[in-house]
Structure formats: C-alpha cells, structure tokens
C-alpha cells in the first residue's frame, strides 16, 4: 500500500495517471508528458511535491552543525536565502542532495528527497549524536506536517501574487511574492495560514515552491490552478518533471547520485566548499578535486533518429563497453534523444563520440556540455 499526498483526490479528479514513486502513489501525467513539458517551458506547470521531506534545524549550534554535515557553505546564507547542497558520507558518497533555507537567525529548513526521508533522518540524528556542538541544536522531521507544490514557468510571476497576496512577514522581506529573487524564501500568509515560498525549482524555468501545512495544500493547489489558467498554467506530473530536469542536467538521487558516487564524479563540485573547513567527506572530496576521478558524469545527445536512451543502457566508446546511462529520454524541447551517464573520465570531454546500446544495437551519440537545453535568447 503506497503513501498518498494530501493532493491525491485532486489528482484523481483531474484524471491523472498514477504510478509508484519512492513509496508514494503520484501522478506521472494528466494529459501527456509532452503537453505538460511544453506548458512549463512556455507558460506554467504546477507539480505536487508534497511527498518531499522537510527537516527543521534550529538553535545556536545549527549553523555549525549544518556546515559540518553539508558540503556547501551555509554561512553564505543570510536570513531568507537558500542554497543547493549535498550531504555526504565519510567516503564522499552522496547520502542526499537537498536545499537548505535560512528562515531566521538560528532556524534552517532542509528540503530533502522523498525517497531519502528515512535514511536522511537517521543520518542527521547520527551526526547530531556525534557532534561536539550538540548543545543548542534541535532537529525535527516535519515531513508529515507539510505539503508542497512547485509552480514553474515563464509566466508564473504574472499571477502568483494573486494566489498568495500581500508581502512577507519573515525570511526575505518583500512586498509581494514575485519580488523574491532567485533562491530567496519568504514567510507569507495564505487564508490565515503561514506558508513558505521559495524562488527556486527543478525545471530550468523561473518558478516558486510553496511549502504549507498539509491541511492547506489542496486549497493552495486549487487557488493557483484557478489563478493561472488564463496564463496557460497546467497541472504537470512526474513524467514532465523528469524530462524537464534531464534537459537541464539536474541530478536525480538514485540516478546521477547515490551513496557510491561523489559530487565531484557527478559534476556538482561547485557546491562543495572545501575552503569552509571540516565537513563529512571532505578528505576524499579534496583529493578528488585535486587529482581528478576515475569516472565522470557526461551529458549526451543522440546523433540522428534513434530510440530514446534510457537508464541502464550501456555506453560504448571505441568498440568497448565503458559505462552506463543513468538518465535518458526523448527531449520534448529538442526533439532528439538525450541523457546523462557515467564513463571513465578520459571519455568525458564534450565533442566525444560515443554509442548507446539499445536492444542490442548501438546508436551514435555525442558528449555535450551541460546543460543540454538552454533557453533561447
């Protein structure tokens, strides 16, 4: 029996096709993945992300604890700012990738992957036990208390203030939601209820994520859908979420990232702040940044017509099988097969010619720079 978010009946009413994802029953599409993908790229799409996890970290020692536990430098965050970051084990392998927001002076909100809520919580509790700054820190797993929606697309800023009116009461102080800058978060009131709105997303488009008490998320979903309809806003499912993030090469835990893969191998070393001091995994990551890694993540495009590349398809170079696809799809925006895979570092340069094995035939592809899709203009 899979878990359901507070928006389950809303998905049913919209005729969504539901599938299992990370232990949850989620909408993969409402009309078609292509339609929903295009809606996000041209107007707006709203995604149910209530299955994701939320952890509150508060207290005098919160900043130090987080900086020892996460790879990015949390000291860079003023109140009302967030950052993409990763949590690694002692070997530099990724426990999860996540967003860390500073809500108040000593209050942080972590947004973690749905499939990793339990391992992350165990990991954080274990780290807290070991931490020498344990006094003055409280961590709380509030995942069950919150729902969330992601509203993504170039036109979202035109109507989001209608749905969540007036200015913020905390976090970044703005007179309206659309004045939040990228990676800023504010505390707003929706129908008398406190909600968090962050200007961030997972699609490569402008957008906002609204985190609200579970009991309020359905009325927020309905309000935003109603206000956005005239602007082309559509409900969008996990199918489109995957094609959108693959086009811009955002990692998905379990594909580009896992406990045996480091952020350096995955190509997200930018979010590893070695200079900040000690943190879990630093030794291995420092060595990898200095000396390089054996394997490396690549983005690739199929050359010409072919079946779409998919996770686990082998990658061949110069007549040898050398690696594996971890994410792949037909790109709705580009009309060609695209993907991300791991190969030995010597084959990871853009321009390199590779082959993808699909049902025992090999199709040509080319290593490209990330992101695979860039907004025109």
């Amino acid at each position: 029996m899979f878990k359901r978010t507070p928006l389950y009946s809303a998905h049913q009413k919209l005729g969504a096709r539901l599938v299992e994802f990370g232990g949850w029953e989620m909408p993969v599409q409402y009309t078609s993945i292509m339609d929903e993908h295009q809606a996000v790229r041209t107007a707006g799409g709203i995604f149910d992300i209530s299955h994701m996890g939320e952890v509150m970290v508060t207290g005098r020692g919160a900043q130090t604890f987080l900086n020892q536990t996460l790879t990015n430098d949390v000291r860079k965050l003023a109140v009302g700012q967030g950052q993409y970051t990763l949590m690694c084990n002692e070997e530099g392998g990724v426990v999860d990738d996540l967003y860390a927001y500073r809500l108040a002076e000593t209050e942080y909100l972590l947004i973690i992957n749905a499939s990793r809520i339990d391992p992350d919580w165990d990991w954080l509790q274990g780290r807290l036990d070991q931490s020498r700054v344990a006094d003055g820190i409280e961590i709380k797993n509030v995942s069950d208390q919150f729902g969330a929606v992601a509203v993504q697309g170039p036109r979202v800023a035109e109507f989001i203030n209608t749905s969540i009116p007036r200015g913020s009461l905390g976090g970044t102080f703005v007179a309206s939601v659309s004045e939040l800058k990228k990676n800023e978060i504010g505390v707003f009131i929706f129908n008398g209820v406190t909600v968090y709105v962050g200007r961030t997303g997972y699609t490569g488009e402008d957008g906002f994520e609204v985190i609200a008490p579970a009991a309020s998320i359905e009325s927020i979903w309905n309000q935003i859908l109603a206000d956005g309809a005239a602007f082309g806003l559509k409900p969008a499912g996990l199918g489109a979420r995957d094609t959108l993030r693959t086009e811009v090469c955002y990692p998905l835990y379990g594909h580009e990232l896992d406990e045996d893969t480091t952020p350096i191998e995955a190509g997200v070393g930018f979010f590893v702040a070695l200079e900040k001091g000690e943190f879990v995994g630093r030794t291995v990551l420092a060595e990898q940044k200095a000396k390089g890694t054996a394997k490396r993540s690549i983005a690739f495009k199929m050359v010409g017509k072919s079946a779409p590349p998919r996770p686990h398809y082998p990658i061949w170079v110069e007549g040898r099988e050398v690696g594996e696809v971890v994410s792949g799809t037909q790109s709705p925006s580009l009309g060609i097969g695209i993907g991300i895979g791991y190969v030995p570092t010597e084959f990871s340069k853009p321009g390199g010619q590779i082959e993808i094995e699909i049902r025992e035939r090999r199709y040509p592809a080319e290593v490209v720079k990330k992101p695979i899709y860039r907004k025109p203009g």
């Binding site: 009309t31 993945i33 292509m34 094609t243 017509k305 079946a307 799809t329 037909q330």
Partner: protein
C-alpha cells in the same frame, strides 16, 4: 473517452489490428493502445523478409516513458514496412489505423485470423 474500433479489422488481445486483403495483412496498433501510450516518439520495425509467428514480438513502440513490444497477430513473412511511421512516429497517435500502420505480412496460415478478436469482442475487452 470513446475509442475507435473499425469494423473491417481483426484484433489481437495485445492491441494490434490486422487488415486482411487476400494473403496480405497490414498491421498496426489500435486507437486504445495509442491512447494508453500517449506521445509515441519512436517506432522500431522488423526487417523486410523476416519470418514471424503469430504472437511473436516483432516491433517496438516507444513513448516518452516506456518501450512496448508489438506482437505479430498472424504468422507470415514481412513484405513491407512503413517508412512514414519511422520518420514521424506521431502518426501512430494521430492515424493509428491509417498512416500509422507498421508493416505488411504475406500470411502463411489464413485460418489464424479466426483466432483473432472481432471488433465487437475487442470492444468488449477494452471496455471491461
């Protein structure tokens, strides 16, 4: 949602259709099947000359999310494939019984068509 089930075709349980004219059968997938798949992005067709048995996988249809096997409804030899559907896979969605056809067989055992479903029986299958 109403789905089209043309009266002049025979149907396999696995949602392929066959239009039989003499000893040539044209094969494709039904409106119901294309609706389930939604956006078809790639079709892999059998080679001309290939011998197939009824029920054998002989083609692949890919949507954004999944690859689906296509089973030959009849036994015979592939005599023609449809280049249009390789060039423009969306034809499978827009013209499943017309321009979205997959291949033609020279059938080896005409009696096999009796084992296929009538339009009425296929309609019952997809309704239930």
């Amino acid at each position: 949602m109403s789905t089209t089930v043309p009266a002049d075709l025979r149907y396999a349980k696995s949602h392929e259709w066959a239009r039989i004219a003499g000893d040539i059968a044209t094969v494709g997938i039904t409106d119901h099947a294309q609706h389930e798949l939604t956006d078809v992005v790639f079709v892999e067709l059998p080679k001309v000359g290939r011998q197939v048995k009824a029920g054998e996988t002989c083609a692949v249809v890919e949507s954004v999310k999944t690859a689906s096997d296509i089973y030959s409804p009849l036994s015979g030899q592939v005599v023609e494939v449809n280049p249009a559907v390789e060039q423009n896979p969306a034809l499978v969605n827009t013209e499943p019984y017309g321009g979205g056809w997959f291949f033609k067989l020279k059938i080896s055992n005409p009696k096999e068509s009796e084992a296929l479903l009538s339009p009425a029986d296929y309609t019952k299958q997809i309704a239930g």
